[in-house]
Structure formats: C-alpha cells, structure tokens
Amino acid sequence: MKKVLLILLAFGILLGAFACSKDTTTTPDVTTTGEQEPLDQDSLLDSISNAIKAAFD
C-alpha cells in the first residue's frame, strides 16, 4: 500500500512539474526599432478597412 502511495506521489509531483513548466503563450520578438512604433488596434483596422474598400473602387 505504501509503495502504491509513493508511486502516486511521485506521479503527482512529475505531473505538477510538467504543468508548471508548460508555457501556453508565446513571447513575440517585437521588431520595433527606434524609428517605428506599433499602430494601435483602431489605426490598424482603419488601414485594413481603407485598403479593402480601395480594392473595390
């Protein structure tokens, strides 16, 4: 019985270590330079909107 419990304990610790080490997000390499800065969401969507509308003109 003790062995079973010890095995369960070891399995639990391993599972815990795996869950804690797993990173579900990615950290992007931001390519911004000193002369550029990212557009905000509204500006970017406006650019996309204008480009799509222009494609139909």
């Binding site: 010890l6 304990l9 639990g12 610790i13 557009l39 969401q41 500006s43 509308k53 494609a55």
Partner: protein, 190 residues
C-alpha cells in the same frame, strides 16, 4: 500515516488541476509584424427592421439605410513569411462611408454544398506589439458577435447582428476580389 499521505496526494492533484485551468484562461497571443490582405468580398444589405436596443447597430441606422458589408481574408506575417495563420476581418460601413463596426473572426463553420458562416466577435483584439489575442475578460463579461452567412445552394448572403436580426443581401450587390496582395504594416513611422 497512510491517511496523511492520501490527503497530501489528493491536495497536490487538486492544486495542479487548478493551475491548468488558470493557464487556459490566459490571453492567447499570435505574433506578427504585418498583415497581408489576400482576398475580399462585399455585399449590401438594406435595413428593413430597426435593430433592438441591445443591437450593436442600435441608433446607428434607420429604416431604408443601406449598409455595405466587407469581409477580408488576412494573413499575419512576420519577417516576410506567414507567422500565425490567417484570419478574417468584418467591416460594416454606412452610406456616408463611416465604419460602424470592425471585428476580427472568432469562428468559422463550413458545411460542404450547404453553407459557410463566419462569426466576428468583439473579444478578438489586435495589438501590433503582441499580435491578435482573445480578451478573456471581455468574453466573460459578454462578448458581442456579428455573423456573415453564405447559403451555398441558393448563393445568397446574409448578415446577422448580435441579437440575431437577419439582414439579407441586396441582389446584384455581391462582388469579390479573389487575388489581392495588400501589405499593411503593423508599425508606423514616428
């Protein structure tokens, strides 16, 4: 002693499952540095029923107004190569060319020979510094979604607002640009 060990093991397992749930609730990030518009289509709808007070179009349209619905297919690009898959954008414009709504795609459903449907939601946000992400806070507090529906058998189009109000397309207004290559930089000069 055995009881203590059993209690310890179950406590440990419970804590781990909680840790996994928290990880799932984090925002999902997709990095990119530019966006390429690869195709787009558009159609018009006429407002024949006033949207209800909970509609995103409420107080923005009147009976008889004609709205133009644009859907663009996007590729997110990093260093010149597709980086995090693709997406779609919905733009709803009024007759004064003012955008009433700009949403990114949340879900896509395709039934061969039957229908194609896109759901565009308010909780899909775009931040050039990190990418496109789902804001789980908005999702939990009540996300809004608009739907574009294509009936493949009848070849008709419909727009549904967030309340389910159906707006059929005006016949003859559908147009598409199947081969675009428009690059939109996510960064601007200072």
């Amino acid at each position: 002693m055995k009881k203590l060990l059993i209690l310890f093991v179950f406590t440990l397992l419970a804590l781990q499952f909680r840790a996994v749930n928290i990880a799932k609730a984090e925002d999902l990030l997709y990095p990119f540095d530019s966006i390429t518009i690869v195709e787009a289509f558009r159609f018009d709808v006429e407002i024949t029923v006033l949207p209800s007070s909970t509609s995103l179009l409420y107080n923005q349209v009147e009976l008889g107004d004609v709205l133009t619905v644009y859907v663009g297919a996007l590729e997110f690009v990093k260093d010149g190569v597709p980086s995090s898959g693709s997406g779609n954008v919905l733009i709803i414009t009024n007759e004064a060319d003012v955008d009433l709504l700009q949403f990114l795609v949340n879900n896509y459903t395709f039934y061969p020979s039957v229908s194609v449907q896109w759901g565009f939601a308010s909780h899909i946000l775009i931040d050039p510094a990190v990418g496109v992400f789902k804001d789980m806070d908005i999702l939990q507090s009540g996300s809004q979604e608009m739907t574009v529906y294509h009936d493949l058998t009848l070849d008709t189009w419909k727009l549904f607002d967030n309340t389910g109000l159906e707006m059929p397309f005006m016949v003859g207004t559908y147009a598409e640009e199947p081969s675009l290559n428009i690059v939109i930089s996510a960064y601007g000069g200072v």
